[in-house]
């Protein structure tokens, strides 16, 4: 059948370029391998020339694939499944890029794009290491190309192609029986980008994180090259800036992900130990371990064997993470793992294709990797740096073990899960890691390589230690850190950890003057450590002092299991227009507004006025309508930033979410004083009638004609409420004021006095009385310390990187 209006050329070009990149990368891999294996210089050079041509071809192909895919998405060619499934007409242009990495194919593509960029730099910079390093990188390019090739070999699907047409994807759908199916309404617009990804962090976080992922292959490839060419130590100085670069970018990417989680998810924070988060944190922890051992080796000749191990494992864990998050095996434990796209076997092979040869080579060569038999002195920097690296490594291993439970379950056919307090499972271990690391980063700076005289150490370290003790004791005493959810033991650990973090900040800052005499250029490491210490401090304070502001004050007591440590009453219900007491603030749900792009976002205007009226502000937490044909909403928080804290709010529930017409009507009933009436959920008792009431609720005077019925409502659950409807005469017209028992969705009016002194009451039971929202409000104190720490750490990394790169250049001259 000839379909009308399809644009097939971009897809054909795209498929061609994917195939080209697959072929070019394997040619590059083999040629680089040949070039690295031969001992003949001339032969090596000619192989290298071929390999370079092949790799550059691969790069052109990959960039073209990316460009074509972006074109398809941005030109809204909805005949393509990728555009139809991941984008829509209403998306603003900055989110069009996010559409590309929403899907598996696009994120693999992003990864290969970064490999190309890194590879091109390595061709220029890697000198004699080019051939072996690029062999590894080209092989990774080949593996990634298979992920997007999307072909069937004997019923076995290899990869998933981003250039599939909708009609390829749903071959049996009846609409494709008409040649001009593109004119049908369901093909006029795409399914849209997932509502949670419509956030500016989602434009920037994936590229940075994937650059981090991609860059870990560089130290890995150098380590493989060293083992393979038996040139065990030639690369460690040369490749050190690459290790720093990778640690810097990967760390930034992870924190950006945390910032996105904080801004747009409703975990109630920036980190939830979700498997997807852990999967990218663990390689970073191991990389940091490797970075420090590499530094030790460069300075002293110790720790080369662990350097190899850590750098190899970093990339292996990147691949393992890729497998974990994309295979669908984590679905039972993660909020946001991808579902498997039928590529599990391929992801496992991708993982094994690197892990098995890398570890085999490592253990085969282990004995011949140079190592110094003499022990490090306990007063040497290298000894304690090594201990710190080991702690980082173990911390990563602990995290990955708990994260991998679903995988263990799969292998051993067991059915275990973490306990019901997942975060604490991690926190109680990691807090000790924080303590040890904080103290080691503080003290180790003052140790010299090889050996340090005790006098020197004591003399230098006294001031920062005293200072740190004073500051941290002040924080402990006046900071009101009283997080006693897990008892005194854990609280003391928090206080010790605060000391460790402060110590690390103070000692590293003082070291710039005490140890380096103010030579800022050489202080990259110290600056990075200051940043890291600030991050620790920010994490400790913001998590242990995180406060729920929306504590339910409705007075309804819930029976809780005494074993439960959760403070469960975290939501407060706000009825539209009614100021509600929320601790420090009076909060009012003022209005809601469905606006923005095609009415898919519902904003709720919540006013916060502090009780001393010193400030008043509005927050607009919102609900975003789910895309992709799913009903319902996702919530999107709003927050107010202060220099020292954030007020963070989101909608837990809104009556608009399942809006239904209020069809219930008032029914009138007659009742005398002390009579009892029934309603759907209990009893209504008329206690008495009061003339011209003057109380907190009404101010009538003796000049008025008003009657107030004093009514008690008793629900089936035994809760009592008071209702006071009023009947009055104004300007000779009888009028009445309805009183509402919101908790029972019950409205009661007092409409007239009937015969026999009976009251005519109007009773309405409604499913939905008034617009309301259930709101959750948190206060995160000092979260900015965490973000500031991150920035300082990145600055430190960049300083070190520049310095080491300059040193390498000087070495060569």
């Amino acid at each position: 059948m000839n379909y009308i209006g399809e644009h097939l050329l971009p897809g054909q070009l795209g498929r061609f370029f994917i195939l080209l990149s697959l072929v070019a990368s394997i040619v590059a891999c083999i040629s680089y391998f040949k070039s690295a294996s031969t001992s003949q210089l001339e032969e090596a050079l000619s192989w290298r020339k071929l390999a370079r041509i092949a790799f550059i071809t691969d790069c052109i192909a990959v960039f073209s694939v990316f460009g074509i895919l972006y074109y398809i998405v941005s030109a809204h060619l909805f005949e393509y499944f990728y555009a139809w499934n991941h984008s829509s007409l209403s998306l603003s242009s900055d989110y069009l890029l996010s559409c590309i990495w929403e899907g598996q194919e696009g994120s693999f593509l992003l990864w290969t794009v970064w490999h190309c960029v890194l590879g091109l730099i390595l061709i220029f910079k890697a000198k004699q290491w080019e051939a072996p390093v690029m062999t590894v990188l080209s092989f990774a390019q080949f593996c990634l190309a298979t992920m997007i090739i999307g072909i069937y070999v004997f019923d076995l699907k290899i990869g998933s192609n981003p250039f599939l047409l909708v009609r390829d994807h749903f071959q049996d759908a009846p609409i494709f029986k008409t040649p001009d199916y593109l004119s049908l309404p369901q093909m006029q617009d795409g399914q849209g980008l997932n509502q949670l990804l419509q956030n500016y962090w989602m434009v920037i976080h994936p590229p940075i994180l994937f650059l981090g992922f991609a860059s870990t292959i560089v130290p890995f490839a150098f380590a493989i090259a060293g083992l393979w060419k038996k040139n065990y130590s030639g690369w460690t100085k040369f490749a050190f800036p690459w290790t720093l670069f990778s640690a810097c970018i990967l760390g930034t990417g992870i924190i950006m992900g945390a910032a996105w989680a904080y801004e747009s998810l409703t975990f109630g924070g920036y980190w939830a130990w979700d498997p997807v988060e852990n999967a990218s944190l663990v390689p970073w922890l191991i990389l940091i371990a490797g970075l420090h051992t590499q530094l030790i080796y460069n300075a002293t000749g110790y720790s080369l064997r662990p350097t190899y191990l850590f750098l190899l494992l970093t990339f292996c864990f990147i691949l393992y993470s890729t497998y974990l998050t994309r295979s669908g095996d984590l679905q039972d434990t993660s909020v946001h793992a991808f579902t498997g796209a039928g590529m599990n076997w391929q992801l496992r092979i991708f993982l094994l294709a690197f892990v098995v040869p890398a570890l085999f080579l490592y253990f085969k060569r282990y004995k011949s990797i140079p190592s110094i038999a003499k022990e490090e002195s306990s007063y040497s920097r290298e000894f304690w740096m090594f201990i710190g690296s080991l702690v980082f490594f173990l911390s990563g291993i602990f995290i990955i073990i708990s994260t991998s439970l679903p995988v263990f379950n799969k292998i051993f056919n067991t059915k275990f899960a973490l306990g019901d307090d997942v975060e604490f499972t991690y926190n109680r271990v990691q807090i000790f890691v924080a303590i040890v690391i904080g103290i080691i980063t503080a003290v180790t700076q003052y140790l010299k390589y090889k050996n340090t005289s005790r006098n020197y150490l004591v003399k230098k370290i006294v001031i920062p230690t005293v200072l740190a003790i004073v500051i941290s004791v002040c924080i402990s005493l006046f900071g009101a850190i009283d997080y006693n959810k897990y008892g005194v033991g854990y609280l003391s650990a928090i206080h010790v950890a605060i000391f460790a973090a402060v110590y690390s900040i103070v000692a590293n800052a003082s070291y710039i003057w005490l140890g380096l005499n103010g030579k800022i250029k050489a202080a990259g490491g110290s600056v990075a450590h200051i940043g890291f210490g600030l991050m620790l401090l920010g994490i400790l304070i913001s998590s242990s002092k995180k406060e729920v502001l929306s504590v339910n004050t409705t007075g309804i007591n819930l029976k809780f299991d005494p074993k439960s440590k959760e403070r469960s009453m975290e939501n407060i219900t706000l009825i539209k227009g009614m100021a509600t007491d929320m601790g420090k603030y009076m909060t009012t749900y003022q209005s809601n507004d469905s606006s923005a792009r095609n009415g898919s976002v519902m904003y709720f205007k919540i006013n916060f006025t502090s009780k001393d009226s010193s400030e008043s502000f509005n927050l607009f937490p919102n609900l975003i309508r789910n895309t992709k044909g799913q009903e319902g909403f996702s919530n999107n928080p709003d927050k107010r930033h202060y220099w020292n804290r954030d007020i963070f709010s989101y909608i837990s529930y809104a009556d608009d979410m399942d809006r239904s017409e209020d069809t219930s009507k008032f029914r009138s009933v007659l009742a005398g004083v002390n009579d009892t009436l029934y309603y759907g959920n209990g009893l209504i008792i008329v206690n008495k009638v009061e003339v011209n009431p003057n109380n907190g609720k009404y101010q009538f005077t003796s000049a008025d004609t008003a009657l107030m019925a004093d009514i008690t409502v008793i629900s089936k659950e035994g809760n009592q409420y008071r209702a006071r409807p009023v009947y009055y005469v104004k300007n000779n017209q009888p009028q009445y004021i309805i009183d509402t028992v919101y908790a029972q969705n019950l409205a009661i009016g007092f409409s007239r006095i009937a015969e026999d002194k009976k009251l005519e009451l109007q009773v309405k039971e409604s499913s939905r009385m008034l617009p309301f929202v259930a709101l959750k409000v948190y206060e995160f104190p000092h979260i900015n310390v965490l973000w500031a720490g991150t920035i300082i750490m990145v600055v430190g990394f960049v300083m070190s990187m520049l310095r080491r790169a300059r040193q390498n250049k000087l070495l060569k001259v």
């Binding site: 369901q186 339910n552 819930l558 959760e566 975290e570 044909g629 799913q630 319902g632």
Partner: protein, 139 residues
């Protein structure tokens, strides 16, 4: 014995302690019936909403925004009531499968952790080919 060996031994001992503490915390996956026999012990169960009720989920934000109660049934057909001391998770009605972590208290399954409900539903990152197919064939 070198210092590093002592350090390694210490680390190994600590690691074992950590792992043991993990293991002590592990929960097992149970059916509703077997969970009822393990009263008060934290377990995970996999179940569906019991659609034999007209409204399997009860959530009244006005009377209590921090209580969601619902009825569940597992693949063996055993039924139970469950309570969750938080707001009703979005789209809970549409979920095909629930993974719950909590403890049986009498006949009621109590969930006291915020992340004690994990919904398997065609939402969030998860592309749902069936929903997509429906869109394609509708209109």
């Amino acid at each position: 014995m070198k210092k590093i060996h002592i350090v390694l031994l210490v680390f190994i001992a600590l690691s074992i302690a950590v792992l043991v503490s993990y293991v002590a915390d592990l929960t097992t996956t149970e059916t509703i019936l077997s969970a009822k026999q393990k009263q008060g012990k934290v377990v995970s169960i996999t179940a569906r909403l019991d659609k034999s009720y007209a409204n399997p989920i009860e959530y009244n934000a006005i009377s209590n925004p921090n209580l969601t109660s619902f009825y569940i049934v597992d693949t063996l057909g055993n039924k139970s009531k469950a309570v969750y001391y938080f707001e009703k998770p979005f789209d809970m009605e549409k979920t095909e499968q629930l993974r719950l972590k909590g403890r049986m208290n009498g006949d009621v399954f109590e969930i006291t952790a915020k992340d004690g409900i994990l919904m398997k539903c065609p939402s969030k990152y998860k592309d749902d080919p069936i929903a997509a197919q429906n869109i394609l064939t509708s209109n």
